[in-house]
Symmetry: C2
Subunit: 407 residues, 2 copies
């Protein structure tokens, strides 16, 4: 028997207990041992829940119990999760987590500590919820030079964008509706400003390059500026607008960003709708692969956490090699990242002059039109350095919106 | 340093050598050791290829060399691959393979032999080419009760169906074109009759249920009967027709088949076009996940084989637990599998009589129409036992085509 302790009895923590209870036969068979939840740590009490019998309020009880082999940290946030995780790894207990903030910030350090002590620090649920992506990156895509990883990494924003697209609705209206349905938080900033996706692409990029990528270094834009009109153009172009976290390797340098991007009908992520997530990977010999599933939600996320517990049981006293060193990876300067841009401008009825300005700013561009949109000029540039785009767009007045394009 | 030997210098074998040469730095870093191709076995000579220097014609040279730790078996076919694999595992060498025929037929036995000798028998490339699916099934989707696995598992047929759909072309014409382009074999039977997909769904189902599923027990239909008109209806229904290998668990019994199925726009596999493959999995807590990528091709398949070599290096002297027992899984009887059916009939201009016959045969059905199709009646049934469908369709004359429906 292997005893585990669950830190935090919130959505994911209660999901972990539920998954272990529901699927115990399967899980024990896959782990090769019986998994027993010995403790749940929470500051709250849950009088009407059977969990109350194994509930503790003091982490030291867990830390000092030599019978506890594996700790599930699903508290979220950096503190005190960071302290607890370090103490656990120092006390000889492996840790499985869904905590993307902590993994993004201290993943490399915690992995090194786990390795030193022949333990494991596993975080499948930190990116893509139930989608297997961390383990495949670490143990399946090992024969390739991975040159791109791009994901729809946040279900809330993907739900909002899908609704805006299908209903022709405004961002604010859809956000309100999503909040009422519980798909968006009352304070939606971490989602709609792209901060959540940013931590996740930082984790993925760290695993791809094997070095620490700081999320603070990643250029991040949210979806709050997108309008119904942007989606009218996307539709006319047989395209869609998705919030992507992306890292591309160019001449051995990774360029990363989080931003809304217009993708075409042949992009592997085009079919990822609603609260689903998808992660696209391009390898130099593997070509394209894509992983799709529920990026959030109690049970899918808990399923990923429990799969880590099973893996930790299968690898007791053996560190699963994970290449993510503390050495900082110097991302390429964002100004040097080349992208194509979709630009909408107010049509001043001075076509020739305006088009000359556009030509001066961006050279040859592709003009695009959308049904039911008047008094606008819209075009798509050739790939251009981000820094040059910022400079050149200054030469144009009456710009209404800008969205990057990947097709 | 770890020495490996590659059995068979055909498409995949030469791909394995190429991938190891191209990405050696990355691969050695991920494996933690330098991987060296010491031998390549083939009955042919390759005078103009550097491989000639390490080429051997006698498997015994490899078998008796204690320096060889891992054998890559990419010969295909059951014999002599089966004998070589058993000899290798008995001689203390792990085996990595892309050989779906051998894995489907003797996977359980070879896994048991590997386990007994603290070795590994790995076969990521046997299903889905470059798509990571075997390892995720074995080590990521371990917290779930998997109730469905469905895949587009054959790139040749998916290419043919995609072309038929997009060009409105006939099967024979597209097949001929695919043969000219090298996407289909001169003898295309294994692909177009569904035999290849059948072996792959047998492997996947064995891994899901943990027992031996014999491919001979799986009802298998190919794509040769599909016509342009079937695709006209699919288009009118905003659907697509794909050759699926599928296993569904109902009341603890698995029902499996390979057959063309009409799937709707919300099916996760709807976006899998051309030579790409996709594998959809439904778990009771994970909900839906899908894996997408190149299901064939020299380098993607070789990438999967080499990822197995890396895993074998990381697990020297340790068996990676894989649950696939030799005990035979009794699949549910195909007659008891319930499916919906799309049926086309010649319209005899006797609407009332014909519709009464249809009602007598299938109860309430959904009548469907397609533009540019005359003199036909077409309908979709409710879910019905396969056995009952076969009986009831006998009551109708002038049936033109039948395709299963999953939406």
């Amino acid at each position: 028997m292997v005893n585990i302790a669950v830190l935090g009895y919130g959505t994911v923590g209660s999901g972990v207990v539920e998954v272990i209870n529901t699927n115990h036969d399967n899980i024990n068979k896959r782990a090769g041992k019986e998994i027993n939840v010995k403790y749940v740590l929470d500051i709250r009490d849950f009088e009407d829940d059977p969990v109350q019998k194994i509930l503790v309020h003091d982490f030291d009880v867990i830390l000092k119990d030599p019978e506890v082999d594996i700790i599930v940290e699903v508290m979220g946030g950096v503190d005190p999760a960071y302290t607890f995780t370090k103490q656990a790894l120092e006390a000889g207990k492996s840790v499985c987590t869904s905590n993307k903030e902590l993994v993004a910030k201290h993943g490399a350090e915690l992995l090194a500590l786990a390795k030193k002590n022949k333990l494991n620090y596993l975080f499948e649920a930190s990116v893509g919820g139930g989608i297997p992506i961390i383990r495949p990156l670490n143990s399946s895509l090992t024969a390739d030079d991975i040159t791109e990883i791009t994901g729809i990494l946040n279900g809330t924003t993907n739900y909002i964008l899908t609704e805006m697209e299908s209903k022709g609705a405004a961002f604010e209206d859809v956000l309100k509706d999503a909040q009422e349905k519980g798909y968006a938080e009352r304070n939606p900033e971490a989602d709609v400003e792209g901060y959540d996706a940013c931590r996740k692409i930082a984790i993925l990029t760290s695993l791809v390059c094997g070095e620490q990528v700081d999320y603070e270094d990643i250029h991040t834009e949210g979806i709050t500026k997108l309008t119904e009109t942007d989606f009218k153009y996307a539709k006319a172009l047989n395209a869609s607008i998705k919030l992507l976290g992306t890292s591309k390797k160019i001449d051995d340098t990774f360029y990363s960003m989080v931003a809304p991007v217009m993708i075409g009908k042949n992009h592997p992520l085009i079919g990822v709708h609603g609260v689903f997530n998808g992660i696209f990977v391009h390898g130099n010999v593997l070509d394209d692969v894509m992983f799709y599933g529920r990026g959030a939600g109690k049970l899918p996320t808990a399923s990923a956490v429990v799969s880590d517990v099973v893996d930790a049981v299968k690898h007791m006293n053996t560190n699963i090699m994970t290449i993510w060193e503390e050495k900082k990876n110097r991302l390429g300067k964002f100004e040097d990242f080349k992208n194509k841009f979709f630009v909408r401008m107010r049509d001043k009825g001075l076509d020739d002059d305006q088009m000359l300005d556009i030509k001066n700013a961006f050279g040859n561009v592709l003009y695009v039109k959308a049904p039911d949109v008047q008094d606008e000029l819209a075009f798509i540039t050739e790939p251009i350095r981000e820094g040059d785009f910022v400079e050149n767009i200054k030469g144009l007045s009456d710009v209404l919106s800008v969205v990057r394009v990947d097709f």
